[in-house]
């Protein structure tokens, strides 16, 4: 019977644990807290050790440079997984109340999800709010929720049109300036060579939200506990009108993005364009070597010919509430994204968020041999200034992205109008939000 006594004891322990965590941290409405950078400077002087979770490849060089500059600070660099894997671990550590890092990389789309329940430190208390003028408007607004500042932006992804010049020249297609021209180009290319496609898309939540963003849509807005969702606003309608024609006309490659086959199709000319974030050149250069010299960059097509862009991807560094030395963690974040950490980041091919770096002549005028000597940053920096204003992600965007496949993905699969999928997506998101304590209204 020893077994049963033992397991009753464990059961009691388990239940106690369940109750303890069940009554865990409720969300707090963060009041605006302002302070100065003095405590950060003091922490830096005092030294200590912090843990930093990131999957960005430039981190190694950055940490080495930081430790050289501040020998009394030890940064324990941990790659806890890419994107979703890291968030799972972060979520678990937050729920367990310990085991998380001091500083963590979080993508802009995921930031509200961790900020809102009160898991991140408001950096206004260290006076970082003063840095606002140094960042592009879109990245700064991505790290602010309400009046609070939950991180400093590192990379950004203003969107542009990457196109395979070889394909365009061969079939005499002009580089599209509007989405109508883009549609024509898609038809012309596929007719000329049925193995080629204007781009690949199998339904991707990050791409979809960015496209709605560019079209002027504001499908999500959050004010405290109140959330509004409208995935059928004018922006969404503008985008689906174009994209439905591409999907239903079978003008898109159905290869899954980021798969080995996708990289292959980028290299061999099967995929003729990519509408994506400004971080893409780094990926091209390291991983699509077969495409070297063939690709070029142009502004993202628009609906009326006037330049407008949106952000796609990009991430910030935040300080976790769990941190036992938040001031030192904040000091590291400041160094990373508002100090000497930016240089090694750019050197490794990153696309920064700070306007001074984006507009420096060295950055703007660099001729890139991969793109046939084109000064691609001219186009990309211009895009960062043209990002449509007023966008925000859902406070549960990671969940939304996961169930995207069940709803909008189904439209892609069945070849039905994307609007129908967006409607189903919205319905699921309204239900979920209401269950999690928000008051969600569909607009």
């Amino acid at each position: 019977m020893a077994l049963f006594r033992r397991h009753r004891a464990i059961a009691a322990l388990a239940l106690a644990a369940a109750l303890a965590t069940a009554c865990g941290s409720p969300a707090q409405d963060t009041a605006k807290a302002t302070g100065t950078q003095d405590s950060v400077d003091a922490a830096l002087k005092a030294g200590g050790s912090i843990t930093y979770w990131t999957w960005t490849p430039s981190a190694k060089a950055q940490v080495a440079a930081f430790e050289q500059e501040y020998p009394n600070v030890k940064v324990n660099l941990v790659n806890a997984g890419t994107g979703k894997d890291q968030y799972t671990k972060l979520q678990n550590a937050i729920k367990a109340g310990s085991g998380g890092p001091d500083v963590v990389q979080i993508e802009y789309q995921a930031l509200p999800q961790f900020a809102l329940p009160g898991s991140l430190v408001d950096l206004n208390q260290y006076g970082f709010g003063a840095f606002q003028k140094d960042y592009t408007a879109s990245t700064w607004s991505s790290v602010t929720v309400g009046n609070a500042l939950f991180g400093l932006p590192q990379d950004s992804g203003p969107m542009a049109l990457f196109y395979n010049k070889e394909d365009f020249d061969k079939y005499g297609i002009a580089v599209p300036k509007t989405w109508d021209e883009y549609l024509d180009a898609a038809k012309k290319l596929h007719a000329a060579d049925p193995t080629k496609f204007i781009t690949s898309d199998t339904g991707d939540p990050g791409f979809t939200t960015s496209m709605i963003w560019q079209a002027g849509g504001h499908p999500f807005s959050t004010d405290g506990r109140n959330v509004k969702i409208n995935l059928n606003d004018q922006g969404a309608q503008k985008w689906t009108k174009v994209w439905d024609q591409l999907v239903q006309g079978k003008l898109l490659s159905t290869v899954k993005g980021w798969s080995d086959d996708w990289y292959r199709e980028l290299g061999d000319g099967t995929i003729a364009t990519l509408v994506t974030g400004a971080w893409m050149p780094g990926v091209f250069k390291s991983s699509v070597t077969a495409g070297s010299g063939k690709w070029a960059v142009a502004p993202m097509p628009t609906y009326d010919g006037q330049p407008v862009s949106a952000e796609n991807g990009g991430s910030a560094q935040s300080v976790l509430k769990q941190s036992s030395n938040p001031a030192l963690a904040a000091a590291f974040v400041r160094w990373l994204n508002h100090g000497n950490g930016i240089k090694p980041f750019i050197a490794s091919g990153g696309f920064p968020s700070t306007t001074a770096d984006l507009n420096s002549p060295a950055f703007l005028n660099a001729a890139d041999p991969y793109f046939g000597g084109q000064q691609v940053n001219q186009v990309l920096t211009a895009a960062s200034g043209a990002v449509a204003k007023g966008w925000s992600y859902l406070p549960y965007q990671l969940y939304a992205n996961t169930i995207f496949v069940d709803t909008v993905g189904k439209s892609y699969l069945d070849g039905t109008a994307i609007g129908g999928g967006l409607k189903a997506w919205q319905a699921s998101l309204v239900d979920y939000g209401n269950q999690q304590g928000f008051t969600v209204s569909a607009g």
Binding site: A11, L15, P117, G203, K256, P395, Q436
Partner: protein, 303 residues
Amino acid sequence: MTSTVGPPRIRVGAVRARGRRGWIFVAPFAVVFALTFLAPLVYAFGLSLFRDQAFFGGTVFVGLGNYTQALADANFWDAFLRVLLFLAVQVPIMLLMALIAAFAIDSARLHAAGFFRMVIFLPYAVPGVVAVLMWGFIYGDHFGLAADLNHLLGQDAVQPLSANWILTSIGNIVTWEFVGYNMLIFYSALKVVPPDQIEAAAIDGAGTLRTIVSVKLPAIRGAIVVATIFSIIGSFQLFNEPNILRSLAPNVITTYFTPNMYAYNLSFAGQQYNYSATVAIVMGVITAIIAYAVQLRGQRKER
């Protein structure tokens, strides 16, 4: 029986006392099992009685509220029926293939039996990450073998990653992985069949097939029952293979494709730990009932 000392009479009480010593052998397993399986399970059961809001509001005791919700959840039943269909078709095929392979290798009529034994087992050793890349190559209708096959046949005849084919494609991967696994269970069970029984059949003039049917098959019934039970549990918990194919077959595999994927996504994507635990427990109860029924049936036949 070479003992020179006469056997003492053993009292019934002594037998029972000795029986209790069986716990010496079971206890270490039981303790670790309690820590790693039972404690989380009890914890999960506790969770299933509450409803916790991930962002605002707190935890509410809802009794069996989550259970009534699960039983009326269309997504859950959609997933359940899918794995039921999968189980009904795939498990018999896989176990039959494994049995045939085990008998063939055990029969001593096969050239290079040791080689066969190892190669057939090998797929079980392939890690999941690689399985994605491998099956991406086999199933790919852009550059893969499926593309080559379609090229040969003319038009898109084979589309392993399309909605109509996907369950078959998953079944194929599971079969590929687990035939060798089950084959080894049967094979090692055949190895512990007392040889005198087989000799006796040989003396009676039974051929290979008759020996299999009348001696070997009954002798490994226990192993067949265990393999069946574990295959049933495995099918009900189907997760890895569809999850792997998700990265190849966009949109075809929903977040509630199988009950286990549903529970996983509720928990990891939606932070709906309470409801996720409920779905897992409901699924566990159904699975245990079916597995237990198979076990009882297997035992009855043995008698």
